[in-house]
C-alpha cells in the first residue's frame, strides 16, 4: 500500500501527492460526469436546480452544504431513485462514458455505483455475518477479513444492536464488498461522535485509495469530509456555489460559503 498523506493533518499543510495531482480537474477522462442535473419530486418541489460535477478515477469528492441544500437529492439523482418515488431527473449523468440519468438503483448498482443511504443503513434483524453474506453475492467471500477491522469481532451480532459508528462501518463494509467503481456515501457522520467520525473517515480513505475506488461524500459536517477529500463542491439551494481542491481552502472558508457571506 503506497504511503498516503496523513488524513488527519489540516488541509493547507498537506503536501500535494502524485495521487491528488492526478485527480486535478481536467487531467484525464472523468469516471463520472454530471451536467446540469435537476431533480423534481412528485409534489413539485425541486430538490436540485442545476448541479454539475465530475469525479475522476480514485478521487474522493466532498459535496457539502446546509441541511436541505440538495446534497442528498444530488446523490440520489446519480445513484437512482426508486420508481415509486415518482421523481423527474433532468440533465446528463455519464458514468464511464455511458449515459445513466434516470436509471434506478438496481441498474446503477450493476454498473458499479453503490449508494450508502442516509438513514436505515443496515438490516436490523440480520446479523453482521449475514450482511456480509448478502454482499458476498457480488464477489467477495463472506469469510474474507473486514476492511473495517472492528467488525470482525461483531460478526455474530445483530445489526440492530450495533452502535451508530459500528452500523456506519457495517454499511460501508457491505458497500465495499460489492466492489464498486464509485461509492456514494450520504451523511456518514450523522449522529456520530467526532472521534468516531475521524476514525471512520480515515479508514474510508485508506480503503478507497487501496482499491482505487472513487467516492462522493455528502456531509453536513464539512471538516470531517474535507480531511479526506481531494476536491469539494458546495451546494446551496440546489446549485453549486463553490468548487475547488481541498488543499486550497479551510473548513472556515467553506462554512462562510454555506452562509453565503464570503467574497
Amino acid at each position: 500500500m503506497p504511503a498516503t498523506p496523513d488524513p488527519l493533518a489540516p488541509p493547507s499543510s498537506r503536501p500535494a501527492t502524485a495521487r491528488s495531482m492526478a485527480a486535478h480537474p481536467g487531467s484525464g477522462p472523468a469516471l463520472l460526469e454530471v451536467a446540469h442535473l435537476s431533480v423534481t419530486y412528485a409534489n413539485g418541489a425541486r430538490g436540485v436546480q442545476d448541479v454539475s460535477l465530475r469525479v475522476g478515477e480514485g478521487e474522493i469528492i466532498a459535496v457539502l452544504g446546509r441541511n436541505g441544500a440538495g446534497k442528498t437529492s444530488t446523490l440520489r439523482g446519480i445513484g437512482g431513485f426508486l420508481r415509486s418515488e415518482h421523481t423527474t431527473v433532468g440533465g446528463r449523468v455519464v458514468f464511464e462514458g455511458r449515459e445513466l440519468r434516470g436509471a434506478g438503483p438496481t441498474k446503477t448498482f450493476r454498473r458499479g455505483i453503490v449508494l450508502v443511504p442516509e438513514r436505515e443503513k443496515v438490516f436490523p434483524a440480520l446479523r453482521v455475518s449475514e450482511h456480509l453474506q448478502l454482499a458476498g453475492a457480488h464477489g467477495v467471500r463472506p469469510s474474507a477479513p473486514c476492511a473495517f477491522e472492528p467488525l470482525e469481532r461483531l460478526r455474530d451480532r445483530r445489526a440492530g444492536l450495533l452502535s451508530g459508528g459500528e452500523r456506519q462501518m457495517l454499511a460501508l463494509e457491505v458497500a465495499w464488498r460489492s466492489q464498486p467503481r464509485l461509492l456514494l456515501v450520504d451523511e456518514a457522520s450523522l449522529g456520530l461522535a467526532p472521534v468516531v467520525v475521524k476514525e471512520l473517515m480515515s479508514r474510508l480513505r485508506s480503503t478507497a485509495s487501496e482499491r482505487r475506488t472513487a467516492v462522493i461524500l455528502v456531509d453536513q459536517d464539512a471538516s470531517s469530509a474535507l480531511r479526506v477529500a481531494d476536491r469539494a463542491y458546495v451546494i446551496n439551494h440546489g446549485q453549486v456555489t463553490w468548487e475547488g481542491a481541498t488543499n486550497t481552502v479551510s473548513a472556515a472558508d467553506i462554512a462562510r460559503e454555506y452562509l453565503g457571506t464570503s467574497r
Binding site: G79, L82, R83, S84, E85, G104, P105, T106, F109, R110, V114, L115, V116, P117, E120, K121, V122, F123, P124, A125, L126, E130, Q133, L134, A135, A137, H138, V174, S178
Partner: protein, 292 residues
C-alpha cells in the same frame, strides 16, 4: 380420553393446520411486500379446483397435489409480477383493496371454469384410524393435513434461514429500500414471495377439500377466516401463525362441541377483536406490527 375431547383435539389440530397453511403464505407476502392480502382464499380455491380436476381424471393424490400447488405457485408469482409490483409504495389500504379485487376476479374465473357446485372427488384416503390413546385417533386424512403443514413450515423456515434466496427475502422484509441499494433484486424476491403464498394457500385448499365436500364459496371464505389466527400469532411471525392457527382451531372446536357450530366464527372474530384491543402484535409479532 373422552369422545368430546378427542373430537376437539382432532378437529382443532386439522383446522389449525389449514389456518396455518393459509397464514404462512400471508405472512410471507406481508413481510416481503407489505401487502395485507385478502386474496389467499382465491388461491385456495384455484388449488383445490385444479387438484380436483386432476384427481377426477385419474391422477394419484401426490402428483395431483404437486401440480395443483405448482400451478398456484406460478399464478401467484404472475399476479405479483404483472399487477402488484406496480403498486409498490402505495398505501396499505389501497393494496389490500386491490387484493379484494383480485380475489373477486379469480373467484369469478374459477366459477366460470368449474361452476359453483360442490367439488366432488373420489375417496383418496382409506378411513383407517390410527388410535393414539382412548378415543383419540387420527385418520389418514388428518395425518395428511398435519404432514403437509409440518413439511411446508419446515421447508419455508429452512429456506428463509439457510439459503441465499431466503436471506435476500429476509433482507427485503426487514428493509425493502435498503435491499435495493445493496443489490438485491427486489422484483424477483417479491415475486417469489407471492408464488410461495399461492402455493401454500393451494395446499390449504387441497387439505380442506380432501377432508370435506365444500363448494368454491366456502373455500374462498376460509381465506378470511384465517385472519384471527394470523393476528393471534403475530402479523409478521411465521412460527406464530402455526401456533395461532392451532389455538384458534382448538378454540373453535371447543365452541362447536359445547356451544354450537354456528358460534365458531363469531368466537374467532371475537378473539381477533380482543387481540387487536389488548395486544395488536399478537403472541410473536415484532414491535413494528403493534400499530398498523
Amino acid at each position: 380420553m373422552s369422545n368430546d375431547v378427542a373430537t376437539i383435539v382432532i378437529n382443532g389440530l386439522v383446522n389449525g393446520c389449514i389456518y396455518a397453511l393459509i397464514g404462512v403464505g400471508f405472512v410471507v407476502i406481508f413481510r416481503a411486500t407489505g401487502v395485507v392480502s385478502f386474496a389467499q382464499g382465491a388461491f385456495m380455491v384455484l388449488g383445490a379446483e385444479i387438484f380436483a380436476s386432476l384427481v377426477n381424471d385419474g391422477l394419484s393424490t401426490g402428483p395431483a397435489a404437486i401440480l395443483a400447488a405448482g400451478g398456484a405457485f406460478i399464478f401467484g408469482g404472475l399476479v405479483y409480477w404483472l399487477a402488484f409490483s406496480r403498486l409498490t409504495g402505495a398505501e396499505a389500504f389501497i393494496t389490500s383493496v386491490a387484493t379484494v379485487g383480485l380475489g373477486i376476479l379469480v373467484e369469478a374465473g374459477v366459477l366460470l371454469i368449474w361452476g359453483p357446485a360442490i367439488i366432488v372427488i373420489p375417496q383418496l384416503f382409506s378411513y383407517q384410524v390410527h388410535h393414539v390413546v382412548g378415543q383419540l385417533g387420527f385418520s389418514n386424512i388428518d395425518l395428511f393435513a398435519m404432514a403437509v403443514t409440518v413439511a411446508v413450515f419446515a421447508v419455508v423456515l429452512f429456506g428463509l434461514h439457510r439459503t441465499p434466496v431466503g436471506l435476500r427475502m429476509r433482507a427485503v422484509a426487514n428493509n425493502p429500500r435498503l435491499a435495493v441499494f445493496t443489490g438485491v433484486n427486489v422484483l424477483v424476491t417479491s415475486t417469489l414471495a407471492w408464488a410461495i403464498a399461492g402455493l401454500t394457500a393451494a395446499l390449504a385448499g387441497i387439505v380442506y377439500l380432501v377432508g370435506t365436500q365444500p363448494d368454491p364459496g366456502s373455500i374462498y371464505a376460509l381465506g378470511l377466516a384465517a385472519f384471527p389466527a394470523i393476528l393471534l400469532g403475530g402479523f409478521d411471525s411465521i412460527p406464530g401463525t402455526l401456533v395461532g392457527g392451532i389455538i384458534i382451531g382448538l378454540v373453535q372446536a371447543t365452541v362447536a362441541v359445547y356451544v354450537g357450530g354456528a358460534w365458531q366464527d363469531v368466537v374467532a372474530y371475537g378473539v381477533l377483536l380482543a387481540v387487536l384491543l389488548l395486544r395488536p402484535q399478537g403472541m410473536f409479532g415484532s414491535p413494528q406490527v403493534a400499530r398498523l
